[in-house]
Symmetry: C2
Subunit: 550 residues, 2 copies
């Protein structure tokens, strides 16, 4: 068995090592364009910032190690130029010498990854304009920063953009973030990105949302970045992080099927339209676990898993790649944002039914010092309660809750299962009613009808003849610090005595800070015959949609 | 509807608040012996140590708050002396005045909790001898420490014992821990407690395992604690944490069914043998989710859940308590230990088939600074791969992995599902192959037969004519720092060249540091015709069974 692998990072490296573990006799050749295999892609920004001080740490393994331990024939600085599927051979080119040669295969695995999108902008080739894909890129950026760059512009507010921003700021670089959409993390539901925006601006980052770059021009000191609005930003360094595109060149050239988004199409065994050619990693199109959509979701974990499964299948095993659910996480200064499954935007786009709840718990028991706040949005099916997606932003403990919900989605669990989850509790790590249980209580209560709940969008968007009466049930002090325009204030603990102040002919939309007192208020009001509902997630959620400092 | 609740902490408080949310009209009376309701049980040790500085923080809520917000009739310092089930009334006693009176009920909820076991020892009533159950107890211990106690003995190495030890040491008290069993955390599998023992001794705690207290006597300065071995330990403070016993007094008195372990027997709706009497919390017997055993598992999370469900059932809902899986966690100095589901000891005791793996991953990507080691033991069914239990000990990230496995157990997932889990990865939070995935790979590989694996107990316990040849495949430097007696050293990267040094007539038991290189070695050896197996979890696991400093 002769296996060729194109690409020696993540998926390719995983496939190669796995193939060797399964077969001592297979001939395995790995072609890698760059000088490194299996480097720590996700660590690159932290080398710029200095948190990872030793460049060697970024090399997860070396060609030597792979040769010695796994008897892999690793050919770095070697590009695969073409595939002849009929003859089952590839054309390889040694980039150092220019020598070209053919190599035949029994099975071929494509793991070319994804390439940073380079929008067709004038000035993109000027010195000081970079993308971030590999160690050479990061060396370039780091060299700039080490030279004492003072002003940088990062274009694109996705994961990589935010990570680069954080690390440039860490190095004392005055940084502007430009993002085309009106939010950072364009893949997220907008309101959930508000805390990140606050964190960025709080750290002195100038954030330009809803704008894009039209041109880059040379200036006395470095560059000028021209924005759609007409502004010009001076910068000595410009990092483009406007997304990645599946590197499908070889697949297109050799006539393999490509998905509508440009990803290489594969079946559940990771085979392309040619059963002897596999494809894995950021270059392929995957099935979204929740929505069933075929799309590109470039993530390291799935890439590794796919590599492993492709090797398994080549060596005779039955495998099934279950799809990707988009579990991902980013740290931006003091905030962590993580998600799994579908977003509301994604579900709305597909006209899929969903309900949502927001909760704002502390990451561990409030009575123990150091509790950090978190906001968790949970999406679920309005009838079955099946969990469809979650986004969380906060500090410590965000990763844990999203991982738990990722497993719940994998297992097909419902919000009713969240109520019952038995999680590890001592005051340093959680609460007797963990945020996950709380999310379950709120969502299950809503589905059971315990808890008539309405969303802020609905309350504030209603243009009916009798819009609901907004009732703020927080304390007078909380009310005084700011509330929703037009809200009446009756603190929860006075509610039973002041029922006569409330209208009986309009729905009362009660709210508190996070939703819990509003819930109790709603229970009291309903049982006293008032048409009442709780505005989900309370004033804290209102503030996600209507930031205090927009 | 008139509902009486005996006990105003955890389960009782949850039941009361839930009942009010469901019914504004129910009459709800809560009897609590002590002066406080709903206090932070699990926070008490940290008030002694000073991490929780403000005593008020331990009061999760107050009787006033419960009266005002939930219209609960909370009667503190009131003991329920007897139940007349036929007349459906209880006899209550105001502990301040001694006044006794009757109160009738439609439904009664018992939430009396569990009481610390007080072994029948001479001297138990001497001043300076305490248990830890409520705020009064903790006030006593704290007062002792504040007075400048220099030497303390903690009896019992369970969760509470360890937490008290940590907090006494934090306050500079010279502390000895005495535990009857030959391990701390007696509910755990012994080898997994080795890292905790190391941490305790590393912090200067004198740990006396396999010993018990026979007597306490007064001494010039405080007390003398007499041990079974004959030693006498001087101490000014003795804290007993030898376990708790369900407080079943009322239930026994009134003829309710009691389980063999002393817990009040309830059905899935939390009803006792009398359908108008419910019982929740530490006083009841629950069904273990994994083993089906009926036993007492005193934990805050389940207590709260049970309280909520009892109220739901009383107010007309269909509920089913799914059982308890024993998810729990403790921090001991720099180590965190957490578990969920069954232990190996539990499964062996019940003669249930199980397999196990040990892994020793870092809690996040090794290339990012601050990665902390963890040891994870996973128990699963030898045929189906169903996850039966897990124990983990380490630093950061232990809570997350155990919670993930707790959810996996709840969902009935298998080790094959762990391989596929898509968890949030960026280098601060995990690895592209998370410890959970790694555990899945190792366990699933074992079940698929990729990975002939043997346990240290088996390798070292074999008394056959041809015991396996132990092969250490770590580097020469690692071997030199210590290995297993009798092991041959051939580093993995030299193995293919040195196959002729190995016997062909005996099984070769290969091992490395954590199991991964041993696995690759086993794959190489098997494919070259050697009967070979990997010793699961490598040398690090060996050291759990055979500590360097026992």
């Amino acid at each position: 068995m002769k296996i060729l692998i194109v690409g020696g990072v993540a998926g390719g490296a995983s496939a190669a090592a796995r193939a060797r573990r399964l077969s001592e006799t297979a001939q395995i050749i790995v072609f890698e364009r760059g000088p490194d295999v299996s480097f720590a892609n996700c660590g690159l920004p932290y080398y710029v910032g200095g948190e990872i001080a030793d460049r060697g740490k970024l090399l997860v393994t070396t060609p030597q190690r792979l040769r010695q331990r796994f008897r892999l024939d690793v050919r770095i600085r070697t590009s695969v130029e073409a595939i002849d599927r009929e003859a089952k051979r590839v054309r390889a080119r040694d980039l150092a010498t220019g020598r070209e040669y053919d190599e035949t295969y029994d099975k071929l695995i494509l793991s070319p990854g994804a390439a940073p999108v380079r929008p067709p902008l004038p000035g993109l080739d000027l010195p000081g304009v970079c993308t971030l894909r590999n160690l050479a890129d990061v060396d370039g950026i780091k060299a700039c920063v080490d030279r004492g760059v003072r002003r940088a512009v990062v274009v694109g507010g996705g994961f990589i953009g935010l990570e680069i921003v954080e690390n440039l700021v860490r190095r004392g670089v005055n940084t502007t973030l430009v993002e085309l959409r009106d939010q950072v993390l364009p893949q997220w539901d907008r309101e959930m990105t508000t805390p990140l925006l606050e964190s960025l601006t709080g750290q002195g980052v100038a954030v330009r949302l809803g704008q894009s770059v039209t041109e880059l021009t040379p200036a006395a000191e470095g560059l000028e970045v021209h924005l759609t609005g007409g502004d010009r930003l001076p910068a000595e360094l410009v990092v483009l992080g406007v997304g990645v595109r599946p590197d499908n060149r070889l697949a297109v050239q050799s006539g393999l099927e490509i998905g509508s988004g440009g990803g290489i199409r594969v079946n559940e065994s990771l085979q392309t339209s040619d059963p002897d050619v596999y494809a894995v990693g950021d270059a392929i199109e995957v099935t979204h676990v929740v929505t069933g959509e075929a799309l590109s979701i470039p993530l390291a974990g799935p890439a590794n898993r796919q590599g492993r499964l492709a090797a398994d299948h080549i060596l005779g095993r039955t495998v099934r790649y279950r799809g990707t659910q988009g579990t991902s996480i980013v740290r931006v200064f003091d905030r962590t944002a993580a998600m799994t499954g579908a977003t509301e935007a994604m579900l709305v786009r597909q006209a899929r039914p969903c309900r949502k709840v927001y909760i704002h718990p502390a990451h561990h028991a409030g009575y123990y010092p150091g509790a950090q706040p978190m906001t968790l949005k949970l999406l679920f099916h309005p009838e079955t309660g099946r969990i469809l997606g979650a986004q969380a932003v906060g500090g410590l403990g965000v990763d844990k809750r999203i991982d738990i919900l990722a497993v719940a989605i994998q297992a097909g669990m419902t919000v009713f299962d969240l109520e019952e989850m038995e999680l590890a509790y001592s005051p340093q790590f959680g609460s007797a009613k963990d945020p996950i249980n709380m999310a379950g209580f709120v969502a299950a209560g809503l589905l059971r009808g315990d808890h008539p709940q309405v969303d802020w969008e609905t309350v504030l968007g209603l243009e009916s003849e009798s819009p609901p009466r907004l009732l703020d049930v927080r304390t007078a002090a909380e009310f005084a610090r700011g509330s929703v325009p037009g809200a009446l204030s009756i603190p929860l603990d006075e509610l039973r005595e002041r029922l006569d102040e409330l209208p009986r002919d309009r729905t009362i939309a009660a709210f508190c800070q996070v939703g819990q007192r509003g819930y109790v208020a709603t229970r009291i009001l309903s049982q006293h015959g008032f048409p009442a509902c709780n505005v989900g997630g309370g004033y804290k959620t209102y503030r996600l949609f209507h930031p205090e400092h927009p």
